[in-house]
């Protein structure tokens, strides 16, 4: 008997590859050449515009607005400190080894954290160099953030207790970061720790805060809603269904508008007692949670009934079987969906201008209406929106790539 061998792999020479992929018939050859010429022409025009015709001065002058908006210039070390803490933990998360015994199919390290971490570090390196060269007030700040990322990566590798307490650490660091940004109430007017009201927060810092808090809060809320929707108790089930379908039925922008109008009414308080940030967070979180719930529901449906029956047969309580058997399998199956929803949330934060927040997107509107921008012939909208598009794309694309990598490693859809 002849042993089974893998199929012979095709090794194409360059000319064979070209013939197969671009020039497989006279028409296709012409078409490929025309397409190539068109692509090169467009790229050439774009590069020529970016390097010679575009006016980047306004963008460069307003980078602080894009980063943190009106956050006091003398307190910039605080956002940097928060960024350092987050980068530290991101580094730690990307380097810890996941517990082996949980599943053979799981990758050794978390590819999502890893993908985002590498991208963030690349960005931080650029920012560190720029900071050292040009930005007086944050000269060593970005370098510090970069180094804290490296430190986190190193510690995550060699300190075992970090791995065990990662979820707790994330919650802790998020809370501490928000506190650092917010300041201490009793601090004097000139103190480094004085209060910075949330209406002065903005720019990319605000976009990150909205995304991270939104994701962290919406996942447990979504799981609860999904469980409620699957409940055998009709009262709970139908209330959850009604809530999910109601929120899903209208676009996010209307919920943001409703939050800005109705939250003060619902709580029966003065309009300015609740900050725009909280209004936006409530709307974003509930909206995302509902979509998370639909994702999780799909995952719950994918776990076979036998799993739960086996757990019950082993004497686990319904709650235990859900927590230990069903939910872990369901959540693992829907990690790509959850990441996709997180990307959506990240993109959707661009709508918070409806409640009056100055996030990254809204800062671009503000900058493009500055007198200096209006003096530029034809305005600077093209430059600013390309910059905006690049930054959003940079993060969203990295996350979607990492999610697809994880999907491949988990073998979702293959088993």
């Amino acid at each position: 008997m002849i042993a089974a061998r893998p199929a012979p792999s095709e090794k194409l020479t360059h000319s064979a590859w070209l013939r197969r992929n671009l020039f497989y018939s006279p028409v296709s050859a012409l078409f490929s050449l025309a397409l190539l010429a068109a692509v090169l022409y467009v790229l050439w025009q774009l590069l020529a515009w970016i390097f010679f015709a575009a006016n980047w001065q306004q963008l460069w002058n307003n980078l602080k607005l894009f980063a943190v908006y009106r956050y006091p210039a003398d307190l910039l070390a605080r956002p940097l400190l928060a960024a350092g803490l987050l980068t530290f933990l991101l580094g730690a998360s990307s380097s810890v080894r996941l517990p082996r015994q949980s599943s053979e199919a799981l990758p050794a390290r978390n590819p999502i954290a890893r993908g985002v971490f590498i991208q963030v570090m690349a960005l931080l390196l650029v920012l560190s160099i720029l900071g050292l060269g040009f930005w007086q007030n944050v000269r060593f700040g970005w370098l510090g953030v970069f180094l804290s990322g490296l430190l986190g990566w190193w510690l995550g590798r060699y300190v075992p207790w970090i791995r065990r307490s990662l979820p707790l650490l994330w919650l802790l660091v998020l809370t501490v970061s928000l506190l650092i940004l917010h300041g201490i109430k009793g601090a004097g007017a000139d103190s480094f720790w004085r209060l910075v009201p949330t209406r002065d927060w903005g720019g990319f810092m605000l976009t990150i805060i909205l995304s991270v808090v939104g994701i962290v809060v919406s996942i447990p809320l979504g799981v609860a809603l999904a469980l409620g929707r699957r409940s055998k108790l009709p009262a709970i089930k139908y209330v959850c269904i009604a809530f999910i379908e109601l929120v899903r039925g209208a676009p996010l922008i209307t919920w943001l508008y409703i939050a800005s109008l109705l939250l003060p009414l619902l709580l029966n308080i003065e309009v300015d007692r609740i900050s725009a940030l909280n209004k936006a967070l409530v709307a974003l979180t509930i909206f995302t949670a509902v979509y998370m719930a639909e994702n999780v529901r799909g995952g719950l449906a994918a776990v076979s009934t036998g799993q739960e029956e086996a757990a019950r047969a082993l004497g686990l309580s319904p709650w235990q079987s859900m927590r230990l058997i069903v939910l872990p399998q369901a959540l693992r199956a829907v990690i790509p969906g959850i990441v996709g929803q997180s990307i959506s949330l990240f993109k959707d934060t661009s709508l918070v201008l409806v409640v009056g927040l100055q996030d990254f997107f809204q800062v671009h509107n503000i900058v493009s209406l500055q007198p200096a921008s209006l003096q530029v012939q034809g305005g600077v909208r093209l430059e600013l929106s390309l910059f905006l598009a690049f930054i959003y794309w940079f993060f969203a694309f990295r996350m979607s790539r990492a999610s697809r990598q994880l999907e491949a490693q988990l073998g979702v859809g293959k088993r």
């Binding site: 108790l233 009414l265 709580l267 305005g379």
Partner: protein
Amino acid sequence: MLRRSAQAAHARIPFYRNVKLLGVIAQVIFVVVLLVGVGLLYWNVTSALQRSRIPSNFSFLSARAGVPISESPIRYSPSDSYARALLVGILNTLRVSLVGVVLASFLGVLVGVMRLSKNWLLRNLSLAYIELLRNIPLAVQLVFWFYAIILPLAPLVSNPVGLPAGGYLSQVGLALPWLYPSYSFARWWPFLGAAVLLCALLVGLRRAYLLRQERLGNIWLWPLIAGAAVALGGLSLAPAPLPAGASVAYLADRGRGTAFIDADGDGTYDRTERAIPYARVQIAIPEAVMQVKSQNLLESRRRLQSTFRFPILKAQEFAEAEVSLEPAAQAEGLRLHFSRFPSSGVIYRDTNSSGDYDRNEELNPEDAGKRGFNSLNVTLRVTDFKRTLTADKSGTFRLPQFEAPASLTAETGANAAAAEASSRTSGPADLFARPAQEETRGSSSPADLFGPSRGGANADTPDDALAAEVTLLRSRPLVISYPTVPLTSYEGGIQLSAPFLALLLGLVFYHATFIAEIVRGGIQAVPKGQREASQALGLGPRQTFNIVIFPQALRIILPPVLNIHLNLIKNSSLALLITYLDFFAIGRIVGNQTGATVPVVVIIIGGYLLVSLIFSTVLNFVNARFALVER
């Protein structure tokens, strides 16, 4: 067996361990907590509403809105009610999202199929398109199209890009020829009814025939052709006579008029009289002049010096046109160069004596700031100007604001360029609109028409008045309306504003990426054996795709694509960012104006929920219809 033993054990289980009872108790507690919570919130809202005196009922809907809405598919004026303003919003949302759904589906399927192309370049180009655009927020894409592309890069409306078939594209948007129902549309109903009946009859006959023959075939093709023939036959009948009392009031010096039913016979249009929507009107002006000043314009991110702009006149609309500079400027050797005769061009001085305009000759060499020859008078003189146009939905139409020749005192010499102007034959006769017989109305002589607008004190002498002859034309049930450009905006045709175009572009390009991925996945999910089997049966690649692969892929593709369509409709609410007035934007304005935020919020949510509900019904239907029938 198991159940019986459980029942037997039932009696012995204490109530705090009875799962059924516990479930009931949990539900009761849940409902009570929920009711208390909702009640608390309701009490909060009502007391807050009372305290702040915010209106909380729907009575504001019938009040006068006063909201100016620039584009609306139905007749709307700011004096209409809030309810009508909201209706316009709904229609605007539906208009942009339905067009968007169709275009996004086409583009999505195209890109999805391209993703599987044999051509490496095409394959990766479509991959790049998908990965690029779906990872950029829609908000960013919308402001990109509107504020960064259309507004700064498109030409001004006074110098639009002419599209084939008579369309125009400029900074204010796109205008295309369009069909509208005329006053005689009712005459077409019998033909339409007959067409539908005939079509249904033929479909029934053909279906029975095919069943009897046990053959497969297309049921719809021939019945549809027959029905269309009947409907077109109804269109080609002689135009109907104008309704009794049909008249037209034209204010020649203002360049605007109205077609209406003259109920009281005084020849003027009163508010109480009924307008004739989409009336065909022919205006003939024997001789007219118009004067503009040359200026510098910012167009397409470039500064254009020494530019003059007249309304767009087509060559077949006039017998002769002549554009001339003021004599003092001519004496200095300044000349005119046309980029579009006779509507736009630049003033230049032939410094290099080439006999023609060359680059930078429009700049004044004596001016240190490199500016042009601005603020010079340029005069356009046309003879035998004749334009046939279609009024809008409220019966009004606009023309360029010509002046009478006598109003210009200074006569200017002939310009060399004027020689180019000669009347050309008009384009091909169009089936729907060209009148078989013209019907001149008695009230169209110019002296009668100036009456209403001109007060007694500052009435011009008849010499100074522009002579114009206005004729209301008979029309067939459908009329073609061609867009025209009376200087600052489009008139006639169908007008798609710049915010509409930007919203459409953003929505289509963004959502097509998702549809493309679904289409690719769906095609790849069709088992390989299907393709191989159809090739073995001798089908060509195109046949294989069209009748074997794609129909099976459609089953997988359709449900998620319908979800994307729903997302597209909901995402059209981002119109707010680029000043397009959709349902949400108008609702927000109404809420801010009336203060009745709670009722407005209820209306907005209700509107979107209704659309979602309709879509999920369709989705369920599709799922049931297309599901694989399994044994």
